[in-house]
């Protein structure tokens, strides 16, 4: 018997107002640009001493994690699972650029130390004093999905009662100038953001249920059919679809979506970044909190697809 997976709380820092909920989201200008996220005052979350040495991606990750944990009334989770497409890119760039410009002899290790993607999860663990399970997924545009699947398996098996799931990606000038060359990034508002969820196998105080997650490199229709039949669902049971598509592109990205289904393209609120699908689940769970029902989150990058089902029906 698998335990169920509930979303208890969530928090976001993005191009939207920090920590605001989906009903206050406003679309971002959809144009070729660097779209930095809006940072909160970090003082309630991190001591000024610690914050001074911290890269923004670490401050944001700790802030959303602490906010979500506080909302779930949990001090120290059983596990911390992190998803990031490109990790601590700013510190990586500083160390790399210094090495290329100044040579290999007089390098300071401080930026290297914080360059690995797992710096995010380990800094959260150090801040919380959490010695539980700790892992980091870095799978390009599906880092969030990998981290969610890891979290779900920890809860379903009963190995953990609750999990802190945090995703983060960061925008830098160099990163922007490089990805802007690629056709799949061209002409977009390239952004950044951090999202945290507290997931639990206990429905107490839950916002919604994470019913299922599949990801496939080649067979979206086959996998979606399998997902629906496994859950005993048809399209009639889906109230809204949240897609990873750019505004107006859902029908071409997901030609198998019924045309009468309400669709929300959440990137109109957060721009494009690698772990933006976490922002999509933040938006989806926020909508279900207000309206109830069942949402399908549909993600796509090239030929890889992901489908996540969330429902306000907790049973």
């Amino acid at each position: 018997m698998r335990e169920k997976v509930y979303i208890i709380s969530s928090a976001q820092i993005s191009a939207q107002e920090p920590f605001c909920s989906v009903d206050r989201f406003v679309p971002v200008p959809w144009e070729e640009s660097m779209l930095p996220c809006k940072d909160p005052d970090f003082r309630p979350f991190i001591s000024p001493m610690a914050a001074r040495r911290m890269n923004p991606i670490l401050k944001r990750s700790i802030a959303v994690s602490r906010q979500a944990l506080q909302d779930a009334s949990i001090q120290c989770p059983d596990a911390i699972v992190t998803g990031t497409g490109n990790g601590c890119v700013a510190d990586t760039e500083v160390f790399l650029t210094k090495m290329l410009e100044e040579g290999e002899t007089m390098l300071n290790p401080s930026k290297f130390i914080c360059s690995t993607p797992n710096t995010i999860g380990s800094q959260i663990a150090i801040t919380l004093g959490c010695r539980g399970f700790n892992s980091t997924h870095v799978n390009d545009r599906f880092a969030f999905e990998g981290a969610l699947l890891d979290s779900m398996m920890l809860l379903e098996s009963g190995n953990c009662k609750n999990v802190l799931l945090c995703t983060s990606d960061q925008l830098t000038q160099v990163f922007y100038s490089l990805v802007d060359r690629e056709t799949i990034w061209k002409g977009l508002p390239v952004s950044e953001g951090s999202v945290a969820f507290v997931l639990s196998s206990d429905p107490q105080g839950a916002v919604c249920l994470v019913e299922d997650l599949v990801q496939t490199r080649s067979k979206p229709i086959w996998e979606l059919d399998r997902l629906f039949s496994r859950r005993g669902l048809t399209w009639n049971d889906i109230d809204i679809v949240l897609t990873s598509s750019f505004p107006g592109k859902s029908a071409s990205d997901f030609p198998f979506l019924p045309s009468d289904k309400p669709v929300l393209e959440y990137k109109q609120y957060c721009g494009q970044y690698l772990s933006a699908s976490a922002f999509g689940m933040f938006a989806g769970s926020g909508i279900l909190r207000g309206k109830g029902g069942r949402a399908l989150l549909a993600g796509r990058s090239k030929d890889t697809y992901s489908f996540i089902l969330i429902s306000s029906n907790l049973s």
Partner: protein, 399 residues
């Protein structure tokens, strides 16, 4: 709950060579392949490293890849090891599998050679996406004959491959996949060679894990993959079982970004959890393939944790990083493949260059490779920056 996780295929490329037989022979004969840099171009060419002794161009030829297809060295190594594993397991082409890769540098070798070109000209644009860890995993997936329905990339620094194997085992336990290819792939880059060098944890001489005179690690590189499936699935298709992956444990030391705690708490918890999952007592473990990087701090912390787990009944211990160097994110995969070989071919590899016991560590590792050793259970440790500590338990196929 599904049954035990059988290991039905293995592939490896490292400083020890290519494939299971060559790897085994070098370990048996106690040959140390660590030398000053031969392939990576760096100011620090004097530093001893466990490089895979092929240039990128030779690796392309070895895996019959078109040189027009841009591939990072990590991906090239990964393709070679993952292909060996799928062939070793005799998986039918088209079998639905998940590929779980542990890596941190991804395509950093490409980026560090080309960053200035990227910024100056558009001629190199096709190389830019290779930087991402996930892209290096998908490149491996695209080169296999099995149907890779799902890929994921774990990046927990030097425990990444161990966590990839644990995640792969969970995918099978949860019933989501029947067959998983899991492991890790990582090449040496100037970026992390210089990172470790700036931390002053690289030994200018050959590394000496657990020795009182140890001065730091030697970097290594390589890739290793295991084919995991349930025992029932393996039996149904008549596959040969090389060993079982019976336990996995993960804990965060939550102490310091680069240093391990003096009481080895994270390492201790990871080992205890792995034993719990395997349903074993500490005294069931015959051999520990230690993380044993040969830094002052790691070996002391790991030694303290080992003593806490095993008490007065310390099993045989060695660090095969004295042969391979520290292959960072791939280390857990190389050592997983070596652990499987130890169980199957009944040997315990030496911890090379151990001479003097550290007064702070009240045990000595295995000094010479032991042959004809019937092993039942082997524990393999992988610890990473950030305190990401993981342990795996491998068991003999005869149990």
């Amino acid at each position: 709950m599904h049954g035990r996780i059988a290991i039905t295929g293995a592939g490896i490329i490292s400083a020890l060579g290519t494939g299971l037989d060559e790897t085994c022979r070098i370990l048996m004969d106690e040959i140390c392949p660590i030398t000053p840099l031969r392939h990576l171009v760096s100011t620090h060419s004097n530093l001893p490293c466990g490089e895979v002794d092929f240039s990128d161009s030779q690796l392309y030829e070895l895996c019959h890849e078109d040189k027009e297809r841009p591939l990072s060295r990590s991906s090239l190594l990964g393709i070679i090891a993952a292909r060996q594993a799928e062939q070793d397991a005799a998986l039918q082409p088209g079998t639905r599998v998940a590929l779980i890769n542990g890596t941190t540098v991804g395509g950093m070798d490409i980026t560090e050679r080309n960053l200035e070109n990227f910024l100056k000209s558009s001629d190199f644009d096709s190389l830019i996406p290779l930087h991402l860890d996930g892209v290096s995993t998908d490149a491996i997936a695209d080169s296999l004959s099995v149907d890779v329905a799902y890929t994921d990339t774990l990046s927990t620094a030097c425990s990444a491959a161990a966590n990839a194997l644990a995640f792969g085992a969970e995918l099978i336990r949860s019933g989501r996949f029947d067959v998983v290819l899991a492991g890790g792939s990582e090449c040496i880059t100037r970026f992390h060679l210089n990172g470790f060098n700036s931390l002053m944890i690289l030994d200018e001489n050959l590394c000496r894990p657990f020795d009182a005179s140890r001065k730091g690690l030697n970097l290594g590189e390589g890739a290793g993959f295991l084919v995991l499936e349930t025992r029932e699935h393996a039996m149904a298709r008549g596959a040969r079982v090389r060993a079982f992956l019976d336990g996995w444990g993960n804990s965060c030391d939550a102490f310091h970004q680069t240093a391990s705690s003096p009481d080895g708490e994270g390492a201790y918890l990871a080992m205890v959890k792995a034993l719990q999952v395997a349903g074993l007592k500490p005294s069931d473990i015959d051999y520990v393939n230690a993380h044993g990087t040969a830094t002052e701090n790691n070996d002391l912390s790991e030694g303290v944790a080992l003593r806490r787990v095993f008490g007065s009944r310390m099993p045989l211990v060695s660090s095969t990083k004295s042969f391979t160097g520290h292959a960072t994110s791939a280390a857990g995969a190389l050592e997983a493949v070596i652990s499987v070989l130890c169980l199957q071919r009944r040997f315990v590899p030496a911890n090379l260059r151990f001479e003097n016991r550290d007064p702070q560590l009240d045990f000595s590792p295995v000094v010479h490779t032991l042959k004809d050793m019937p092993l039942k259970h082997v524990l393999s440790n992988s610890f990473g920056f950030g305190g990401n500590d993981s342990s795996l338990v491998f068991s003999s196929s005869t149990l």
